[in-house]
Structures are given as C-alpha cells and as structure tokens.
C-alpha cells in the first residue's frame, strides 16, 4: 500500500475487489455468507483472510452455492444481524428467486455484484446484463465508476438499506475486471469514521428477540395482503430517493465526495449529451472534456442510481437538449427496443412537452472494449442527429463486428 497524507484519510493503491473488502472490514458486518465466482472471488478470499486474522467480528459462512448464500443472508438478517454477501453473473442468476424474497421480507442485505456477462456463451468479462436483469427484483442498485466509488457506495449502502423508511436490500455494482481487477487510487476513510457513519444496526424485529418472537415469511393465504405488501414495497423504494440523497450528502461531509443520483458535466450549456453508467464513464468523460475544449456543445450524465430510477431528475436534466445518446452495456432482447437505460429514459421523457431526440448505443457486451475511437464515432453521430433533427437508427451497436 502507498500511503498518502490528507488528514482522516489514507490514499492507497487497491484493486476494486480489495476496495470492497476494505469497506466490508470497516463496516464489520455480523454475518457474511458468500460463494466464490469470477470476478468476485477476490472479495471472498480477501475477506476470509480478514476473518482468519481476527480483524473483524464477522461470522463468515462459506456456503455451497449462491442460492444458499442469499438464503443464509436472509436467515441471518431476519435474526437481527447486519449481513453482507457478494456475487457476480451466474451467481446472481442462481440467487434470483431469493432476491425477490430478500426485498419482499424487507431485509437490508448489502451485496456488491461484480458485473459480468451472463452465459451462454460462457464469458467472464464485464457487461451489465446480470444486474440489469435483476432491476425489477426490488433491490436498490448503485453503479460505480471506479474502485473509489465502489468503496464509497458500499459504505453508503448500509445507511440507505437500514433506514427505517426504506428497509430494502442494496446492490453495489462494479464492472468486472475493469474495476475489480485494476489497480486504482483509493482514498480510505479512517476505521472510526466509517464505524461512526454506519452506526449500529438496530432492527425493529428479530427471530432472536426472546421477548417478542416473530413469524417471518408467512403464507399470504388465498385472499391475503400480497397486493398491499407490494404497494408498501414501492413506497419504501420511493422513500429511498430522499434517503439516498441525504446519505450521499452526509457522506460528502466525512469524505469530501458528496453523492447524488447522477453526476453531470457541461449540461448547463450543452446542446447534446451522452448518458453512461459504470467504468465507461471515465472514457466518455475524457472525450467530452476534450470536445468541449474545442467548442463542441456536448455534455454528459453519469448515472449512479439505476434503482430507483430517477426519472424526474433525469428528464429535467436533459429536457433542453436537442439530442441524447444513451450508452447501454447490456441488451434487453425486447425486439430492437434498446438497452434498459434507453428504454427507461424514453419512458421518463414521455410526459415532457418538449423532449430531446434519443439514440441508443449498446456497447461492451462480454467485455468488448469501449475505445476512444468508438466514443468519438458515437459523439459525431450524435452531433449529426442534433444538427439534422432526425434519428436514422434509434438502436445502434458500438464496437460490434458486423
């Protein structure tokens, strides 16, 4: 580790998975139940070592599958423990059934998911198809651009999930290999600062409360309250908008890095813009800044919170644009409807009187590199759309061998 100087922080060189493990060590959860999968494995390995070295109080369960990882996490969280797990791609797929049960039981489980392409064909590299598929499972989803944001999001996730107005599980997303396995500069907060920030978990209900035993996961019966429970869950997700911003602001005070739903560059005077999430934001930002230096009126939005989808704020941010390009690192197989961010954003714009033209760029599936040339190509086409007022092809593939 290379140590830095700023008071209250330590600047280190870490790969993304180690940044996550550091956040976990500082959070010091009661229970971690996890199963290794590339490229998440290093989180489980590093954390196991931390447990073995007595750096944390965590009872770590080396389960036999991801389905059991989420099941054990559910059992532990229902018992009043602060619980974390981590996974990737096929592992998230195997957890599918339990994702809905974790959110439906309103258990604030935290799970970093290292984004990786789903089989078939089997591919271990990055795309967002795994977590995008889970977008309707009732989890809050926070995307990260780099190791720093992966670390920061993990710490904030605890406070968001455990807020009594929310009580929903949170997925922290980081790009496989690009973030998980690349050495990056990370500012770590002091252990005490993180410990104080996350506070102690005080669950309202627990299986282990001997004075007030509870039943968890009851049968809803034939004419039960399922509909009302689901409506309450939606309400909790709506509440999370406020909480995500409050926690992001408070985190800014201890770190100098405040967080909101998304970050903007040049949107105040841009005529067209690119929306992107994950590590590709770094590549896009550099190009956008270069183009702006040349007087090209381009802006950029880096989306951090995908669930809940900040539709109103995004619509407001892009309503004055002539054209917007949405970069999606996954496809939906909906029939040329584009990627998930594109579809949601289009829907968010429907009620506007005046709205920008939208184009979609699906890129980077299975880890295909997003080069500077490809970003420039998309930016040039976007400028053409803004200039001509016409979209020739709404859904485009960037970097595809055709």
């Amino acid at each position: 580790m290379i140590t830095g100087s700023k008071a209250g922080t330590k600047t280190v060189a870490l790969i993304g998975t180690d940044a996550i493990a550091e956040a976990m060590r500082q959070i010091n959860p009661d229970v971690v139940a996890a199963y290794p999968i590339t490229p998440q494995t290093a989180i489980v390995e590093t954390y196991s070592q931390m447990v073995a070295d007595g750096l944390v109080k965590t009872n770590m369960i080396a389960v036999e599958s991801e389905h059991s990882a989420m099941s054990a996490a559910i059992g532990a969280a229902a018992s009043g423990a602060r619980v974390m797990t981590a996974t990737s791609a096929q592992g998230l797929g195997l957890m599918w059934e339990m994702l809905y049960i974790a959110s439906g039981l309103r258990l604030p489980i935290i799970m970093p998911n290292v984004n990786r392409a789903l089989s078939a064909p089997i591919n271990i590299h990055c795309d967002h198809g795994d977590s995008m598929g889970a977008r309707d499972s009732g989890w809050i989803q926070l995307f990260s651009e780099n190791a720093q944001e992966s670390y920061d999001n993990t710490i904030q996730a605890i406070r968001i999930a455990e807020n009594p107005a929310v009580l929903l599980p949170v997925m922290v997303l980081l790009d496989g290999f690009i973030i998980s396995h690349s050495i990056d500069r990370v500012e770590l907060l002091d252990d005490e600062v993180v410990s104080h920030f996350v506070g102690e978990f005080k669950p309202a209900y627990s299986l282990l409360n001997a004075r007030n035993p509870v039943s968890v996961g009851n049968f809803d019966g034939l004419y039960g309250y399922y509909f009302e429970f689901k409506r309450q869950q939606e309400e909790a997700l709506l509440n999370s908008f406020r909480v995500i911003n409050e926690v992001g602001e408070e985190f800014g005070k201890i770190s100098g890095r405040p967080y909101r739903f998304f970050e903007t560059i040049g949107m105040e005077d841009a005529e067209f813009a690119i929306i992107v999430l994950g590590s590709a934001a770094g590549t896009v930002r550099q190009q956008v800044e270069d183009m702006r230096a040349k007087g090209i009126p381009i802006g950029m939005i880096k989306l951090r919170v995908f669930r809940p989808f900040p539709a109103r704020e995004l619509a407001e941010a892009i309503s004055r644009m002539k054209a917007v390009a949405v970069f999606d690192r996954s496809s939906t197989f909906a029939g040329n409807m584009g990627g998930p961010v594109f579809i949601e954003l289009r829907s968010a714009l429907y009620d506007l009187q005046k709205r920008p033209l939208l184009v979609n760029y699906v890129y980077g599936l299975g880890g295909r590199d997003l080069s500077v040339d490809l970003v420039n190509k998309a930016a040039a086409e976007l400028a053409e759309v803004a200039c001509s007022g016409q979209v020739k092809q709404p859904v485009n593939y960037l970097g595809l061998r055709e």
């Binding site: 009661d30 229970v31 139940a33 109080k57 965590t58 009872n59 369960i61 080396a62 389960v63 036999e64 599958s65 389905h67 059991s68 099941s71 054990a72 996490a73 559910i74 059992g75 532990a76 969280a77 229902a78 018992s79 009043g80 423990a81 619980v83 059934e97 339990m98 049960i101 039981l105 299986l207 282990l208 409360n209 001997a210 035993p213 509870v214 039943s215 968890v216 996961g217 009851n218 049968f219 809803d220 019966g221 039960g224 309250y225």
Partner: protein, 309 residues
C-alpha cells in the same frame, strides 16, 4: 431427560391447535413429538421449507407457532436456518443475546430428499448446530400427491400413475437417512410417529448434540396414501413392523437399532393403502416380489451396520 408421558404432557406446546392441517395428518404429530424433546429453558427458532406444514400453520395474519418462525422458499430451509444460527453464534458472542436458542427445521420429503438436498448437505457439512427433521410422507403432498425420491417403488402418485403402460413408480426410493449419516454428523436417526417414546428420546439426543442432527420421521398422509384418516398412527406402526421403515440411530458414527421387531411380510402393509391397490392385480405380482426383496436387502444391510448379525 424424562420420556414419561406424565412429564411430556407438561412440556410447552410450540404448535398450537387451530392450524389448517388435515384431520389425521401425520406431520403435526411428528412436530409435537419432536418438540417434546426440546430442553427446558431454551428459546426456539423454527424453519419450514414451502410445503403442507408451512401453508397450514402460517396463514397471515395468524401463526400457529408459539415461537419464532421463518419460511423463505422451498429448497433452502436448511441454508436459511444456517444463517439464523450463524447470526445467533456471533450475536451471543458479542453479548447482544443472553438466552440460549435452539434451531429446528421441519421439512417434507420434497424439501429434504429432492429440491432441498444440496442446501441440507451444505448445512450438515458446515456443522451448524441445528436439528433438521424430515416429516416424510413419501410424496409431494402439498401440490397434490406427486412422486418424490422418498416414494416407494410401485406406488401410485399423480406423476407415477397406474395405467396401461405403467404400474406406478418404477424406481426404488433413495436412502436419505444414510445420506445424512454419510456427513459424519453427531446424530442421525430414523423414527416413526407410532413409536412416540423412541421418537422423543431421539429428539432429546438431537437437541443435545453439539452440531447438526438429522431425524427422518415417517409421517403418513391419508390423502396421498389412500387409507381412512383415523389409521395414520397404525400405518406408521405397520411400516415399522414390516421393516420397510426400520427404527435406528447413528450416534457419533455408531449404528444402533432402537426397536425390536418381529418382521412381518410387507404385503400386509401395502394391502391397507389405496396407493398400492393396483399391485394386487395378477400382472403386477412381480412388483410386489421386488418390493419385498428391496425391503429384505435393506434390512440385512442395516442389521450388518448395527452389528446385529
């Protein structure tokens, strides 16, 4: 600990009346007998996989359980409860919980033999201190009597029906109790609701074990087996006497028979149940013979393991 009836009736009732299980259901009998083996002065967390017992005892906003209870899904009751047990271990160590807790799963043969086998195996191998009880009624009864890995060869179910080209289930059942024993856990037993004192004693040992324990309890289902509902305990007793459901335990690796029986021909047992009715037609007599041969072979194997020969 006592297994005297006078003492057992004083034990707390964790499963209260008013649940919606069928009259004559073997599962609730198994649950009550097992929970008579819970030590005094401990708290309980009970888990169910999805199944008859779960849907009949936890209908929101009610519960029949006078203690903490969790159900999450079908194939994962063992994994779910292993998480609760892990939480308990660390929270107790941290001084956040004062009471002593015990953890018990009641799962059907579907949730145990088949869909839940992996999660169960992982839980047993990891050494969580919990008791896993299979209330075994030899088919998927909650969804309407479909074959399971516990279903006896020749048995009619809705997915192993009797027809022109079928004589019921083709395959022999798997030996789940031996599979559990192969995990080398402190305590494994096979029990029957008809032999209540034997069952309670096994439950006492299971709750006392310093590690995982597994008990496979034969819990007949009159809806699926097709016999009069008042005969549930009698069916379980006949199964033990025919040695198609022998009573034994594996305590720290040592196999012991726990009930002396005068072995009866299996035909007498099969004859009492509608699920085997087709086997008594002339063209199916080979299947009857094969069932008896299976029972004999498994019994011999068990006697050898228990060093009774």
């Amino acid at each position: 600990m006592s297994t005297k009836l006078a003492d057992l009736v004083q034990k707390p009732q964790y499963l209260s009346g008013g649940h919606r299980l069928c009259a004559g259901c073997g599962a609730s009998i198994a649950v009550r007998q097992i929970l008579m083996g819970v030590p005094d002065d401990v708290k309980l967390v009970i888990a169910n996989p999805t199944g008859c017992l779960e849907v009949s005892t936890s209908i929101y906003p009610y519960t029949a359980w006078n203690t903490s209870y969790i159900h999450s899904a079908f194939e994962n009751a063992a994994a779910t409860l292993s998480g609760a047990e892990a939480a308990y271990q660390t929270l107790k160590k941290q001084g956040k919980i004062k009471e002593d807790f015990r953890f018990v799963v009641f799962g059907g043969d579907g949730g145990t033999y088949d869909i839940g086998l992996q999660a169960l195996s992982g839980t047993l191998e990891r050494g969580h201190r919990l008791v896993y009880v299979c209330y075994n009624n030899e088919a998927y009864m909650n969804t309407g009597i479909q074959r399971s890995g516990a279903t006896i060869m020749g048995s009619w179910t809705t997915t192993s029906p009797y027809g022109r080209y079928s004589s019921g289930k083709k395959e022999n059942r798997k030996d789940m109790t031996a599979i559990a024993a192969a995990h080398n856990i402190p305590y494994v037993a096979q029990a029957s609701i008809s032999h209540w004192r034997d069952l309670v004693r096994k439950a006492q040992k299971a709750f006392a074990a310093d590690g995982p324990a597994f008990i496979n309890v034969l819990s007949p289902c009159h809806r699926g087996w097709r016999y009069p509902m008042e005969k549930t305990v009698e069916m379980a007793k006949m199964a033990v006497q025919a040695c198609i459901w022998p009573l034994y335990e594996v305590e720290n690796g040592k196999w012991n028979l726990t009930a002396k029986v005068k072995k009866q021909p299996v035909e007498g047992y099969l004859k009492t149940q509608g699920r085997f009715a087709h086997l008594f037609q002339e063209e199916n007599k080979d299947i009857l013979k094969a069932i008896q041969e299976n029972v004999d072979a498994e019994w011999e194997k068990l006697l050898n393991l228990c060093e009774q020969k």
